[in-house]
Subunit: 541 residues, 2 copies
């Protein structure tokens, strides 16, 4: 197996990709190497930047060095890591065509010893009519099929690209059909324009259309992605490889990359970075240099920024905090925040990718965090698997007390003691659940399990979270099986919204919700009125 | 003047502090130097870490080296930057008392050539009864007054500390009274426990209680703050100086600081950093070292993390993006998010601190961003200064079109043309305003001014932002002066909420709001119905 999974979080994973040129850990950023001239040499990239994998262009190599005998791409680049070669598809995108057939370029890539090679696909491009998009998808699929006999037995790993641009149905079709072919790696094409236009919600949809239709066990490469601001988002959606020349192109244009965005060198008065370039230099130093000297250093800084972010992402996967990292990076630009909001549409897939337990408490920042896998999972499992204890015919919904685990809270213990000693067999018929944001309805007997007592939430909670909590309580009532629903509530907005949603849910079942509570739902008075309520027969419709 | 402001954003500022030992740029982090033994030498701190200012303890120096003749703190530390000396107050906090009088320690600090010196205040501490808190405040004030004749003519800058802990009224009193005395610098005491317990909303209140009662032109030092996660928040609230031994203490405890929080070394598989320590080492390398060697390197990494964050903050102040940085850092822990929410309470002060225009577009991420100074300022100025054009008696509220500036949007131009040619003198009586999140009501003639066309907003917008927008429209109606209010709306939730709030606002003025609109408010049909509506006489109550 060429790709072995080591760890995962959300749809992101740490993997080990074995190629004939060596092993590479993913997620990995692959700097694009111009085979003719380089601002940072590939051997320095490996030694000083930790780049174990790079990508170069076989079409350009063939054009410039094609006549050389025994051409080897590793020797040509003076690089002893893993080399990926692109095929000229980028040149098709930019110049409309290439002077090479797919058969020729596949043969050439085999001949120069590429570790990972790419068929000659047709990039969809941007702003093209749907018929043209359809043609790029079908032609790419045809070429993928044509390539199969040529690459059979090749020692390289071969990449089957996915096209379709922002036409999600075509991306899905492209992914499904190429995923059925025996490629070892897939790649999603044409996201560059989407990224340059800051259309990150569209990027989320494109990646997911590909991801959900490709074999999950194969690595997914996002073509042309080279900004550290968006790596964590793409990894969270299941991308394993990135490539770009942005580190050098931005440098040429006097631009400085960070996980927060892009700065023009002229706007920098301080360097917000501790990399080897920035650590002992000031912004002033950089500005005073010659353009060429600055370009080289900016390229180095930009590459450090990319490589450090990959390490940050890997660490987040290991500790189970990739969601938190994506939230942080989503404040680089409102379009990144919009992308975070878009993740809600894929919360089931995200939950599926996430291991059950990482020992990491859950941080709930605000309504964006509703789509966290821990929250989705709790709701799914509660609805699918939980049954109230046998004999429980009254659902008692109690406002969650102030300390966790709720069940062990001293004020709740008092209430519980009073109910259990005073109510006799009525008590045996009670199914007690707490309600609290963001989990909603929490059966008392689950309240000590992960993550129901291992979370922190930012207060006061927002309107969306209140509504989400209320709806979760309503769904639990909707599961049915109770003769009676009693709400023991406080007087805050959350309590009002939970009461309203619960009343609605009861009504649908032909029941009347009963409520007790007060400003001090844990006081003696409130406890007495709850006792009295529970002793009375249930309200009738 | 010892402190000169160079730039500002929110309540944060870049300043130049002139001392007899040299100049220091603020905000500045001052590592605590143990005068007896150091894990990183002060001279290396200056050369390799850019620490132009450090803090040490005059009480400990006096105890250990007090007998030496001609003792000089710069020579003792072998450090040629600015040296601050604490007075033993920390020892009072920890050990309950010190074996020195204030007169003695003030004299001693003058004698050893401290550049910045601190009187012997009484730290409030944590979890102490209010009477004790009151005593610490009054005793600190008494000592501040007593110190005045002693420090008169001193070449050092003297710090007047503020105490009061979480008792905000006492913090305010302490700040007000010490601020009336001729100190050059102030410091807020006792935040350490608040920070260690992750009570960041309380920290916000404490800092603001001090800041709003101190002379704004003097630097404010936050005692004991040493975590890069919270520097940007504290700077945004007007803190200029930080000191802590945390870089070394955390290292001793095998902990690794980042702007995202604290990691235990044992939990790190990758190093999410490119500083000189982390750049060419792996987490494995660090784990395999001897404890002592690792402690030294972790202290270096932790100090790099602090110093780099200070540069990041300074750059954010220069470009006017400190708010964005605070939002990013607020995802380090839910308590930091809660602190961000707390900023809403101080949005007027935050607005006041922020320059009018930095050329930087406004990023609106979600409801937290409602407290951004640009948003607060727009609402304040609109309500205080804006008058509709003379003769305008009908307020026409139009859903904002899809491109900015709204006034130049092609669909809006069409609508405007139709109205102006068809309506005759009715048109002259129109005051046209757009409504859009987050600014709410935007008079057409302002729609091209900053920041009304220079912003990006993450869509879809949240419930709080919708409500905020609707209320802003309602307030504009409430300003009065119109005979008639007409809403030309769409059919989304925002439109419904704006309609509801506008109807309420009209009702209070004894008017009936009139509405037109449709799913396509820019279509021909919607334009015709708006024309018809405007031609009819106003609805009567």
């Amino acid at each position: 197996m060429a790709f072995e999974l080591r760890d995962r979080d959300l749809l992101g994973r740490i993997g080990r990709l074995t190629t004939m040129g060596g092993e590479v850990e993913t997620p990995a950023f692959m700097p694009v190497i111009n085979p003719i001239s380089q601002v940072i040499s590939p051997s320095r990239m490996k030694k000083e930047f930790g780049c174990d994998i790079v990508i170069t262009n076989s079409y350009i190599i063939r054009k410039n060095f094609g006549e050389k005998p025994n051409l080897d791409v590793h020797r040509l680049l003076d690089y002893d890591g893993v080399v990926v070669t692109d095929s000229g598809a980028y040149q098709i995108l930019v110049y409309g065509g290439v002077e090479v057939t797919q058969d020729e370029i596949i043969d050439f890539q085999k001949g120069i010893g590429s570790d990972i090679a790419i068929i000659l696909d047709i990039p969809t491009g941007w702003d093209v009519p749907r018929e043209r998009v359809e043609w790029t998808v079908e032609e790419t699929l045809r070429r993928a099929r044509d390539a199969l006999p040529l690459i059979e037995g090749s020692r390289a790993l071969w990449v089957g690209p996915v096209q379709g641009g922002r036409h999600l149905d075509l991306v899905a079709r492209s992914a499904k059909l190429v995923g059925d072919m025996p490629f070892q790696i897939h790649a999603l094409g044409s996201p560059t324009e989407v990224m340059e236009r800051y259309m990150f919600p569209v990027l989320v949809d494109m990646i997911m259309a590909a991801k959900l239709n490709l074999p999950p066990e194969r690595p997914l490469h996002l073509f042309g992605a080279g900004h550290p601001m968006m790596f964590s988002l793409a990894v969270a959606l299941g991308c394993d490889l990135f490539d770009s020349a942005s580190y050098a192109l931005y440098a040429k244009d006097d631009r400085y990359l960070t996980t927060m965005g892009t700065s023009r060198m002229e706007d920098l008065s301080y360097l917000p970075c501790s990399c080897p370039v920035c650590h002992r230099r000031s912004a002033e130093n950089l500005k005073e240099m010659t353009k060429g000297e600055r370009e080289r250093l900016l390229a180095e800084h930009n590459l450090h920024a990319c490589m450090t972010e990959i390490n940050t992402i890997k660490q987040a996967i290991v500790e189970g905090s990739l969601w938190d990292l994506v939230e942080r990076r989503s404040r680089g630009h409102p379009s990144m925040t919009a992308a975070l909001k878009r993740l809600t549409n894929y919360k089931d897939a995200i939950e599926e990718g996430t291991p059950l337990f990482k020992g990491h408490g859950v941080f709930y920042y605000d309504y964006h965090s509703m789509a966290r896998p821990e929250v989705t999972r709790y709701h799914r499992l509660l609805e699918a698997n939980y049954s109230p204890p046998a004999g429980a015919d009254t659902l008692l919904l109690v406002k969650a007390p102030s300390t966790r685990p709720y069940r062990a809270d001293p004020a709740y213990r008092e209430l519980w003691k009073t109910l259990s000693t005073e109510l006799g067999e009525i008590f045996d018929g009670l199914h007690i659940c707490f309600y609290a944001p963001p989990y909603g309805c929490i059966p008392e007997d689950l309240s000590e399990t992960y993550p129901l007592s291992q979370y922190d939430i930012a207060e006061p909670v927002d309107e969306e979270t209140i509504e989400f909590t209320a709806q979760s309580v309503a769904r639990h009532i909707g599961l049915g099986g109770f003769n009676r629903v009693v709400l023991h509530q406080g007087v805050e907005r959350l309590d009002m919204m939970v009461a309203e949603a619960s009343r609605e849910a009861c009504k649908k079942l032909g029941m009347i919700m009963e409520a007790s509570g007060s400003t001090h739902p844990w006081g003696e008075e409130a406890t007495s009125s709850l006792l009295a309520l529970l002793r009375r027969p249930a309200s009738l419709q």
